[in-house]
């Protein structure tokens, strides 16, 4: 079992620690996919700090909950959550993207302790997560499969093939978490490939779906606990209304922050900014 946080203040601090460590980690590799990393910090805090069943001493425990970060370019936020939950030492976060290292920018289950599925080619995590959920059911294994999708990633047809499959096979142990941060690589999703009302889309595909404030740890926790408890044969989706680049003045509310460089000066400023939060 990982570290557990009792109240939402503690959980929010955990989210901000994940945020700061992720920024440090990306700084160590001179930059990264900052926007989509920062929009996921609250979700990571709720998953690893509160709701998930896992054991860092036994990371491949069969009946654990599993995470498929299908927007695999955001590896650093997951690495940060894993390190702070005891899967590997915090210092290793500073080896992000190093030659011969264990922390590649995109998630790799064969390189990093605690990563449950390899991702990086957008859309593919949807299918592997569906397969893992089906496998768990066939073997009568406990545990949820948490599938994290980007809102731009929803452009991939494969996501919707997986959605149809999940409904057909009654995968109520699959919980889709959409990071609705309103931007993809080239800008706002609306102007590139508008997915419309994402909650309604998943409903149309036979899912139970809700939309919550993705930066409220209480709201995220409540929605996840409720969705995971319902064993009604219906796969669930939570649309997390988030902001790309959330929680760092350099990126919050900005565009063009999908992937940015992080200089030493920027890092020094970030340290000051986070020092105020007393993490």
């Amino acid at each position: 079992m990982g570290v557990k946080y009792q109240n939402s203040d503690e959980l929010q601090k955990f989210a901000d620690r994940i945020r700061l460590h992720a920024i440090r980690s990306m700084h160590a590799s001179k930059g990264g996919h900052v926007g989509g990393v920062l929009s996921l910090c609250e979700l990571m805090a709720v998953l690893y700090g509160k709701v998930m069943e896992y054991d860092p001493e036994n990371p491949r425990m069969e009946e654990r909950d599993k995470v498929v970060l299908s927007k695999g370019h955001c590896g650093p936020v997951l690495y940060s959550a894993l390190a702070l939950s005891g899967f590997f030492p915090e210092e290793e976060l500073l080896t992000l993207n190093q030659d011969g290292g264990h922390l590649p920018s995109h998630c790799d289950m064969n390189k990093t302790t605690g990563i449950d599925m390899t991702t990086g080619s957008l859309g593919q995590g949807a299918s592997t997560a569906a397969g893992m959920a089906l496998g768990k059911k066939m073997l009568g294994r406990k545990g949820m499969v948490y599938l994290i999708l980007g809102d731009g990633e929803l452009n991939e047809g494969q996501v919707w093939e997986a959605a149809m499959f999940a409904k057909q096979h009654r995968l109520d142990n699959l919980l889709v978490l959409v990071d609705w941060n309103h931007q993809q690589l080239d800008g706002y999703t609306e102007g590139i490939c508008d997915m419309g009302n994402i909650e309604n889309l998943f409903r149309a595909f036979g899912f139970g779906a809700v939309t919550v404030d993705g930066h409220s740890v209480e709201a995220v926790e409540k929605a996840i606990v409720q969705a995971a408890a319902e064993k009604d044969g219906i796969p669930k989706c939570i649309v997390l209304d988030t902001m790309k680049g959330k929680g760092w003045s350099v990126t919050e509310g900005k565009t063009g922050i999908h992937h940015i460089g992080i200089t030493d000066e920027m890092m020094a400023e970030a340290e000051k900014e986070f020092a105020g939060k007393e993490l």
Binding site: D99, S105, G120, N155, D186
Partner: protein, 316 residues
């Protein structure tokens, strides 16, 4: 290394802007990678000629095939891994079998996708495309060459796959050098051995190897086989006859790319010379700097020079 005024992607955008003046059917389709392809510049010049499809490579290719049927000359772009592996059946059926005309631009080819790691490193893109019937595969090494071959491709029929080392400014050819698709270009003369290679990364390493060897009075020929398919068989035969030993060096799996294509010619012609394929030995990539990855797979200039000497020793 001489640097061109712009990087490869800007050279491509400039070329398309020029070509569009004579051929207003040229279109650029992207898959949420306009910021990477550098085509915002083309969009500024021709806003109606760019379609950013979103992250949906397979659909993008199919749409391009449909646009081709209506008489357009579509270019489609993604990272080379997704522009090949992810859309192979669409390329085959909607493109090749339906006899449509689409130019596929795959950026960050091979090990140059190192910062994005194993999922993005395409060591099989040329192999996949080479097996598909009738395709043309181009791996240009510098902006001068890229501009020339892109311009040539536009008036031709069929499926072209163009590798784009988008951020490189390395310049190997003088501005205005002429190239012909399907004809290799000799980058350096030499009689002791030929290095047949293609693309920015490997041309650079081949030149480094040649420099090392020159110091030891060994003179290698560098054959820039920028058209990997259809292969310039004549250039291979000449290299074999005139230098008596061949190394192929490619930013790709040694299977089914340039090395395999050259080996086929050598075997079919019954030529017996020392020959070695250099490239990635049938493995996946991983995150890393280009230099680290080149050394790891034995594709750096020093390794090429060493192999060259071993082969030259074996010449009878």
């Amino acid at each position: 290394m001489k640097q061109y005024a712009t990087d490869m992607r800007t050279a491509l955008a400039d070329t398309l802007i020029q070509l569009e003046r004579d051929n207003d059917r040229i279109l650029w389709l992207d898959s949420d990678l306009m910021a990477s392809s550098g085509m915002n510049k083309f969009r500024e010049a021709y806003p109606d000629k760019v379609i950013n499809c979103g992250i949906q490579e397979a659909n993008m290719f199919g749409v391009a095939a449909g646009l081709s049927e209506e008489g357009f000359v579509p270019f489609v772009h993604s990272f080379s891994a997704f522009a090949s592996r992810r859309i192979t059946d669409q390329i085959f059926m909607s493109g090749i079998y339906a006899r449509q005309n689409v130019r596929i631009v795959g950026s960050d080819p091979g090990l140059s996708a190192g910062p994005n790691g194993g999922t993005h490193i395409s060591l099989e893109d040329m192999g996949i495309l080479r097996t598909l019937p009738g395709t043309m595969i181009l791996d240009p090494c510098d902006p001068v060459q890229l501009k020339a071959v892109t311009a040539q491709s536009v008036d031709r029929k069929g499926i072209y796959y163009i590798r784009l080392m988008r951020k490189s400014k390395d310049q190997f050819y003088e501005e205005g050098t002429s190239f012909e698709i399907g004809r290799a270009s000799i980058l350096k003369e030499g009689g002791d051995l030929s290095v047949i290679t293609c693309g920015t990364v490997c041309v650079r390493e081949a030149l480094k190897a040649a420099e090392i060897l020159e110091k030891e009075h060994i003179h290698v020929r560098i054959v820039d086989m920028f058209t990997v398919k259809p292969l310039d068989r004549e250039a291979v035969l000449k290299a074999a006859a005139e230098t008596g030993a061949i190394i192929t060096l490619e930013n790709h799996n040694i299977y089914n790319g340039l090395g395999s294509a050259v080996a086929e010619v050598i075997a079919e012609e019954g030529i017996r010379i020392p020959f070695k394929r250099m490239g990635v030995p049938d493995s996946v990539g991983e995150v890393g700097t280009l230099d680290y990855l080149l050394c790891k797979f034995g594709m750096d200039g020093a390794s090429v020079a060493k192999t060259a000497k071993e082969l030259i020793e074996k010449k009878s």
